[in-house]
């Protein structure tokens, strides 16, 4: 016989005890206010010595492969900046927490970052559903919500989310740029779409449909990211006779699409959005899905895929940005056995943009100063096209070039195209050459 069965009392007592434990834990938080010199604790998360920023990232779980390299890469750039004088002498402390790509956990970790860790800003929170769960909270707390890692149009909503900014080329613009290229280079051909059935794929299709004449579109097939059986969709594409298939898919589904096409002996020209076309990630996935360990197997399958890029091509050794990032990669990331792929380039680049914004925000910035700095526009840096940032436009990069995957690397086919996110805005060429990377590797204020 065991002791007491006083269920309700004990249950409620348990709840209360748990809350007391919480109380005991909470006494450890304290804010440090640095003084002295010209550097002040001008905002929460900023001391005389440090700027603490936070993020939610999928470090484990379904979205982790590949994406878990992004935050360490941004951090590598911050470490580089810290080692070269920091931001007006302050060091960046980047605290990124694992949300497993689960919005409920995102909510928990972002509450921790803001309410307990007192971060200055949220930086590059990854994912559309995940970040949507916290965007309203971040804005209610008036934190700069810098450079969300998602191309959703939802971040460009200054009325609803005045403190939130996108960064990467949004999916509508990307769809328009790919669509306009297809319209010119595959005139009169039958075209099929394959897309993820959420805002990512739908925004992309919206952009594509703005540019490609309706009469040419013979099939639109969507997939659910939780269902890997896509054979019916691929069969429908084949039956429609599409000679070009445009895919707005994540890397795993690009690989599945390619393998299913091989299985059906169907070989249209594949056009894949930037998100799903990183050659190194794709080659790895193809080899692992097909259980084929032959060297070069993955690369042989990615050969000839048309895609777009808004950052310089990794294979372009003559590009000053690539050589800068190779240097930083060799120092900070290579020892961790992270491959130098598109995710690493992404993380380094978005880190660079954040440093640009911080330097522009001033010596002792408040949170609003950083938001104002981006609202007044940022100079073009690591991307091939300028930023859209203004007080009425919170989209980031506005253009991209078209490239073909050759031997596992992007080779640019065209110059840079820019466009807007409206249905009628034209796709135009952008001829201003990309500014060279600063010799110091750190943007000038």
């Amino acid at each position: 016989m065991i002791g007491s069965h006083r269920t309700p009392l004990a249950a409620v007592a348990g709840l209360a005890v748990a809350s007391m434990l919480l109380a005991a834990c909470s006494s450890s938080t304290s804010s440090s206010g640095g003084k002295g010199g010209a550097l002040t604790a001008s905002a929460p998360g900023i001391t005389a010595k440090t700027i603490t920023i936070g993020s939610h990232q999928p470090l484990t779980g379904i979205a982790a492969p590949g994406y878990d390299e992004i935050a360490p890469s941004s951090n590598a750039y911050f470490q580089y900046v810290n080692a070269h004088g920091g931001i007006y002498g302050r060091k960046i402390v980047y605290k990124y927490l694992n949300d497993q790509y689960n919005p409920s956990i995102t909510s928990t970790v972002v509450h921790q970052l803001i309410l307990q860790d007192n971060v200055y800003a949220i930086f590059n929170g990854l994912g559309t559903p995940t970040h949507l769960a916290v965007a309203q909270f971040i804005n209610a707390e008036h934190l700069p919500d810098m450079f969300v890692a998602s191309g959703c149009e939802c971040w460009n909503d200054p009325a609803k989310y005045p403190d939130t900014f996108g960064w990467q080329l949004d999916y509508i613009r990307e769809g328009k740029i790919l669509g306009s290229y297809i319209e010119q280079h595959f005139k009169g051909e039958k075209i099929g779409f394959f897309f993820q059935d959420d805002e990512f794929g739908q925004d992309g299709v919206k952009g594509l449909s703005d540019e490609i004449p309706k009469s040419q579109i013979v099939s639109e097939q969507s997939y659910d990211p939780t269902n890997i059986k896509i054979a019916p969709q691929v069969a429908a594409l084949k039956a429609s006779g599409a000679k070009v298939v445009v895919s707005f898919s994540v890397p795993a589904f690009t690989a599945l699409l390619k393998l299913n096409m091989l299985g059906l002996k169907y070989s249209p020209q594949l056009v894949v959005s930037d998100v799903g076309s990183d050659p190194i990630t794709l080659a790895g996935l193809l080899a692992s899905f097909a259980k084929n360990k032959t060297a070069g197997f993955g690369n042989s399958l990615t050969q000839g895929i048309i895609t777009d890029g808004y950052l310089p091509s990794l294979g372009d050794a003559s590009n000053s940005w690539i050589s800068l990032f190779t240097k930083i990669y060799d120092q900070y990331l290579k020892p961790k056995n992270i491959p130098f792929d598109g995710n690493v380039l992404y993380g380094l680049s978005v880190g660079y943009t954040f440093v640009q914004a911080m330097l522009k925000a001033g010596r002792n910035p408040t949170r609003q100063d950083l938001i104002n700095a981006v609202n007044s526009g940022l100079p073009q840096g690591v991307a091939v096209a300028p930023f859209a940032y203004s007080s009425s436009d919170h989209n980031g990069i506005t253009g991209a070039y078209i490239a073909t995957i050759k031997n596992g690397a992007l080779v640019a086919d065209t110059g840079v195209f820019v466009t807007d996110d409206s249905a009628t805005g034209a796709v135009t060429t952008y001829t201003t050459p990309q500014p060279a990377a600063p010799a110091s590797g750190i943007p000038s204020p």
Partner: protein, 370 residues
Amino acid sequence: MATTPAPERPPAGDTVSLPLRAAGSAEGRPRRRPPTLVRHLGVAVLFAVLLMLASAKLSAYRDYQLAELAAFVVAVAGLTVLIGLSGQISIGNGAFMAVGGYTGALLFLHLQWPLVAIVLAATAAAAVSGAVFGFAAARLRGPYLAGATLMLAVALPSLATRFQSVFGGDQGLGFYVNVPGFLGVNFSLSEWQAWFNCGIALIALVLLANLIRSRVGRNWRALRDDEVAASLSGLNVARLQVVAFVVSAACAGAGGVLLAVVDGTVSASVFALGLSIQLLTAAVLGGLGTLTGAVWGSALLVLVPTYLENVAQSHGMTQGTSSSVPIVAYGVVLIAVMLLFPSGIQGGLLRLIALGRRRPARNQQEKGSS
């Protein structure tokens, strides 16, 4: 309660003395005590006051965690009653949480109902779905029932991605509550969330505690211990099983809507299979069939992962490594609790308390016999 078929003991407030323990149901005349409902309500009010005081002391983040904890307590309590008392199993209660969460979010977005009404409606919606599923479940036993509920956990949330125009697909639906006006503009949102969720959780616990001590609860225990015997005693087995399912689904629904209040959103990936498994783990780790166990299990679920990750990080682990620590710890805790306290944390605590009491009790007995 009643993880073991031990005889009922007089509840709180009674003198704990040996004759009562030894005599069991054949005890003498127990001292008059207030009715169960009054006693439970009194205790709940007492702890409501304590929680309110605590939430004012706590930092905003701890308030937030308290609100999250309360949401899980409701869901786990429902599950623990189902498994521990009625003897059925469900690996699908995350799906009922989804029913509650989505019902709440839809009412919040489209009809702007007051929050309390939303919670009631979400609970009712989950109860109805529990009833529908319960009729099917009452025909199934053991692993077959587990399989059927597992299917529910897999299938139901994917409806949200299927019907995007209604449920918002992968992006989900926003559920961003504001602090009600009468508390003033400077009142912290997370403190309000903690108040609201703990309030609902206390109400749910009182209702469940009363139910457990009622005839329904006794019948469930009879059912759990021997279905044939229960049936021969004139109990309607199928109906009791359906009722248990309805209760547990209703609790899950309430937990789901409370979780949505905390998260500020509902989306399909929150209610994935992992959530259902977590609920089951929390119920088992806490101690099946005890409401206190539900609190312990939920605390384990909510507090331990973030705590461990922070500890790991402050001990200089890289962020890549430290994010795996909670997963490892989860496995270790699971194994340790099952080895050391097969009846869960609550069972373990009670055993420790019983051990502590045995010695003085024996002394008393010796004195009495001399």
